[in-house]
């Protein structure tokens, strides 16, 4: 996928208050670290080339105690107190405004992300994949776990990472201050395609987010168009429904991503491909070539060209 911005996934380009605090902390650390590094270097130079009187001072136990004990104890104690406050601040929702934080559940799979919005529908919630939509200016609490091995959710522009561990639910608050697209990636090695396990975060204005959520609540519409119908039929015939669920159809697979609104997502295959008809067809035909070792088979031999194009067209229409 071609990215046009270099700052989608950067620690020092924060897009929200949590990452902002950590970025500020980082700059303090970098500047402070550089200063200490230079001081040690200056001492070393003075010890090597300084005058005899100065070197007599440097060559004493007192100098060791001052530089090796007193200095670090003072600096590090202050740093500890200060950073524990930041630690607390970035691990709990800020609780600003009257709205309670929005809960979003993320579940890691080899090698993609399921994203749930609990309580947004009568029988549970909206379920999507590889894309987290959030409203700007509202606290969001990510509740994360894993369905197989350990993964780690990392959205550097919003907050630090949190591991997805089977059997445990971990939480991490995030908040975006302005609309935009950010990138996240799996940070804990999770197997063959760990490198190709990314996702996008789309921060939208609250009305746009509500509108998106409303669209997500709808099931897949019936189709009358013959090409679309052919694509739908091919989807069934190829057995795609065994793994994928599409609400509003007979297919209720639980192994792969929910495809009810797959056409509305920014990427395919967990941040690997742009999402349009061509890449959809390419992914279905050659999932094992694009992302070898993932659990989706390549359907190049099972489907002929027209079927493949029709299926891609139908899936693309599921916005």
């Amino acid at each position: 996928m071609n990215l046009d911005s270099a700052n989608l996934q950067a620690v020092l380009s924060p897009a929200g208050p949590y990452a902002q605090s950590i970025a500020e902390l980082s700059w303090v650390l970098f500047v402070g670290g550089t200063v200490i590094f230079l001081i040690v270097g200056v001492f070393l130079a003075l010890a090597s080339f300084g005058g005899p009187a100065l070197r007599a001072h440097l060559g004493s136990r007192r100098f060791i105690l001052a530089g090796g004990v007193a200095f670090p104890v003072v600096v590090l104690s202050a740093l500890l107190v200060w950073t524990l406050g930041i630690n607390r601040a970035v691990s709990l929702p800020l609780g600003l405004g009257s709205e309670p934080p929005l809960r979003i559940q993320m579940i890691g799979y080899q090698f993609w992300w399921e994203v749930r919005y609990p309580g947004t529908m009568p029988d549970g919630g909206v379920v999507t994949a590889n894309e987290v939509r959030i409203p700007v200016g509202r606290d969001v609490v990510l509740e994360v776990t894993s369905a197989d091995v350990i993964h780690s959710v990392w959205i550097p522009a919003l907050n630090g990472k949190i591991d997805m561990i089977p059997g445990r639910w971990n939480t991490r608050p995030i908040r975006a201050d302005r609309p935009g697209v950010l990138r996240g990636q799996c940070a804990e090695f999770c197997g063959a395609q760990h490198a190709l396990m990314a996702f996008y975060v789309v921060a939208e204005t609250p009305p746009a987010f509500e509108a998106w959520l409303n669209r997500q609540r709808l099931p897949a519409p019936p189709t009358a168009d013959p090409v679309m119908a052919m694509g739908r039929a091919a989807f069934g015939a190829a057995g795609c429904g065994g793994c994928h669920k599409i609400r509003g159809t007979e297919w209720n697979g639980q192994i792969g991503p929910d495809l009810t609104h797959v056409g509305g997502r920014l990427s395919l295959a967990a941040g690997v491909l742009d999402n349009h008809r061509g890449t959809l067809a390419g992914w279905i035909a050659g999932a094992q070539d694009i992302k070898p070792g993932n659990r989706m088979p390549s359907f190049a031999t099972a489907l002929d060209g027209p079927e493949l194009r029709a299926m891609a067209a139908w899936l693309e229409s599921l916005k």
């Binding site: 996928m1 071609n2 990215l3 046009d4 911005s5 270099a6 700052n7 989608l8 950067a10 950590i22 902390l25 980082s26 650390l29 670290g33 590094f37 070393l44 003075l46 010890a47 090597s48 300084g50 070197r55 007599a56 440097l58 060559g59 004493s60 136990r61 060791i64 001052a66 530089g67 090796g68 004990v69 670090p72 740093l79 950073t83 524990l84 630690n87 970035v90 691990s91 091995v149 350990i150 990392w154 550097p156 630090g160 990472k161 949190i162 591991d163 561990i165 059997g167 445990r168 939480t171 990636q185 799996c186 940070a187 090695f189 999770c190 197997g191 063959a192 760990h194 490198a195 070792g293």
Partner: protein, 853 residues
Amino acid sequence: MSPQEDRHDPLSPSAPLPNPAPRPPGELEELERVWVRPKGWRMLSMVNNNWIGTIYIGMSLLIFVLAGSLALLMRAQLIVPNNDLIGYDLYNQLFTTHGTMMMFLFAVPVVEAFAVYLLPALLGARDLPFPRLGAFAFWAYAVGSLAFFSSIFFGIAPDGGWFIYPPLTSTRYSPGVNIDMWLLGIGFIEISAIAGAIEIIVGVFRTRAPGMTLARMPVLVWAFLVFAVMIVFAFPAVIWATILLELERAFDWPFYIVDRGGDPLLWQHLFWFFGHPEVYIIFLPAAGMVSMIIPTMVGKPLVGYGLVVVALVATGFLSFGLWVHHMYATGIPNLSLAFFSGASFAVSVPTGIQVFAWIATIATGKMRLEVPMLFILGFLFIFVLGGLTGVMVAIVPFDWQVHDTYFIVAHLHYVLIGGMVFPVFAGIYYWAPNASGKKMSHRLGCWAFWLLFIGINLTFFPMHISGLIGMPRRVYTYPEGMGLELWNLLSTIGAVVAAAGVAVVLFDLARNFRMGMSGGGNIWGAGTLEWLPQGNYAARSIPRIHSREPLWDDPDLADKVKEGRYFLPGSLTGRRETLVTSPTHAIPQFVAVIGSPGWAHLIAALGTAGFFLSLTFKLVWVAGAFGVVGFIAMLRWVWTGTDVGPLRPPADIGGGLRLPVYASGRDSLGWWAMLTLVLVDSAAFASLIFTHAFLWLVNGPAGWPPPGTSLPGLAWPLGAGLLVLAGAGLIWLSDRVLRQGRRRAMALLVLAALVVHLGGLVVDFGAIWAAGIRPTWHAFGASVFANLFWQGFHGAVLLIMAIYLAARSFAGRLDPVWRASFDNVRLFWSYCVVQALVGLALTHLFPRLAGGA
């Protein structure tokens, strides 16, 4: 003490030299004959620490080059985004093998190798206390690590990252043999690391030159000691974690499987309880080398010796309280994180002390910019930078951002290469003349230094940036357009430059290093004993020590040592010997006969390696054959090579000191080794207890044992405990009858004790089995059976020991005086009794008191 009395104490500086000159004819020839190194193909049977140590260093450098070449392949793949040079499968094996080899097969072994080479010379000993054990550890390592490396050619190298977190590494997600390669291949090499640690601990405490009190030991000896003690307490945790994972993979015992009460975090706690100390295990001896080289290069003693020693010991202690800082992102509560963050800060204080002590020492003298000193200056630059990023990643919120990114890759390479590789290269340039009698090339050394210094910084500094702009570690590819291209390109160029630096060092070694013990003398003008003239027997006579830099105090010391004027200038028994002194004040106690060249330890090493490697491939019968061969070789080695008994009456070693040539009980070297082994064992058992406690916490009291489990009635464990205690009583009794000289009665009592002890274990097993508890159903059952497995394993060891004792008593090799074997077994037996009783309480009482039973 009056000067008059002082003169009569042979250890006093004012006393005359212990032995007169000239020495009797034939004494030196006899010493040379005893210590001669086997030639030709028989060289394989050699055990001399100077030769084994040198080859050991060479072997670990080979591993360094091999593991480094894997890194070059990775850098080649990452030179541009979306590169398809190397596939994901090979790439995942490359970084796992690179990390595993560098950490387990290079960093720890190279330090042990330096200890094998240097320690006896630093202490004024003739050799390590257990030369065959040292050679065994080397051979096991050499065969095992080469076999491990070759797995990459067959596509079966491990591929789960060097800390192989389950559940990714469970059978379900990694069904192949790759992970078993890690578990068994690395697991058994850890045993060789422990063997080395035991050797170092006993050597430091018992084989120092007379008068070398603890406070007069060179800093490097302190560093080796702390290193070895840390191995004793840290390695058992990873060995235990490895055993559990292999039990899970092979027999489906669910320690790490959530659905059946296990927890993958158990692995992370156990692994990092080892893994964090491991970092300091690697760093401290390197720091010790720096504390040796700087004083020599500036011609002044280390400033703040006491502070530096305290810093080494403090680092050792603190490093066991930091493991969670590798787990900040696992969802551990903030309060615990605060504790571990503070502890991680605290460990930078002792490191700061050492850095400032080195600067202070430089200030006191005039620095010579020889190649070793160049590497030390490079070390200070790189290590201080890595230490500062270390403080950064100790801060929880900052770590949440950079954890598992290239920033960490940068940090860990800065501290490991800066803190370990540069001092080791300094050490090679510094001590190579000690072994080869010839300096390495100054010109080539300078080239090597600058190539390495520039290459390492060019490789790893950009990684800080690629991490901060979003590059996770362990990715075989990265997308274009994220700004990662330039930084990765620089890293790859830097890796090539650094590789060129390593190549220059190897070229220099090939040209200028010739192993020959002629010795170039004290080439740098150092103050410590390793620069005495050395033969295969180390120093001709063993000097008495009155300060930390004996060679600086007495310019004639080397000559007088060489003339044989000091202690033990020859061989008393016609066999290899070393002088044993008391643990704190180094007062001579006895002369110990130590191992000479042989084949049994070599065959035992090959058998052990073959056993574990064939087990990896589930070749049970082949493994069995190797196991039998290795076992028989070990028995022969122990039977013929240890506890040789009092060969002669006490003899004079000089200065009127008459010392025995045999010791048993708490004085003997073997007893100290056994005591250290018991510490290793109890550290492993502590991990077993932790496993129970942690899984109890995870499952909650009501889930431990899980509902529907019924424990056997308390009468069963009570009976089992009484049987184990009865065994202990019989052992006590066997000691009484042995003192009376009733050898046959002693043997029968030991065998009876064995039957009773094993009976206790069988009763426990039977009761648990009859109660319907099975290892595969739930983590509770798995933990209970892990306990049974551990006790049973010790029972098997006791079985061998008891039969061995009986055989020795019937063979006339065990009597009221000649009884070191008996004393050692008794010590181990006592430990097993305690362990069995605690084990019973863990299975039967703990769930009743703290759980839902």
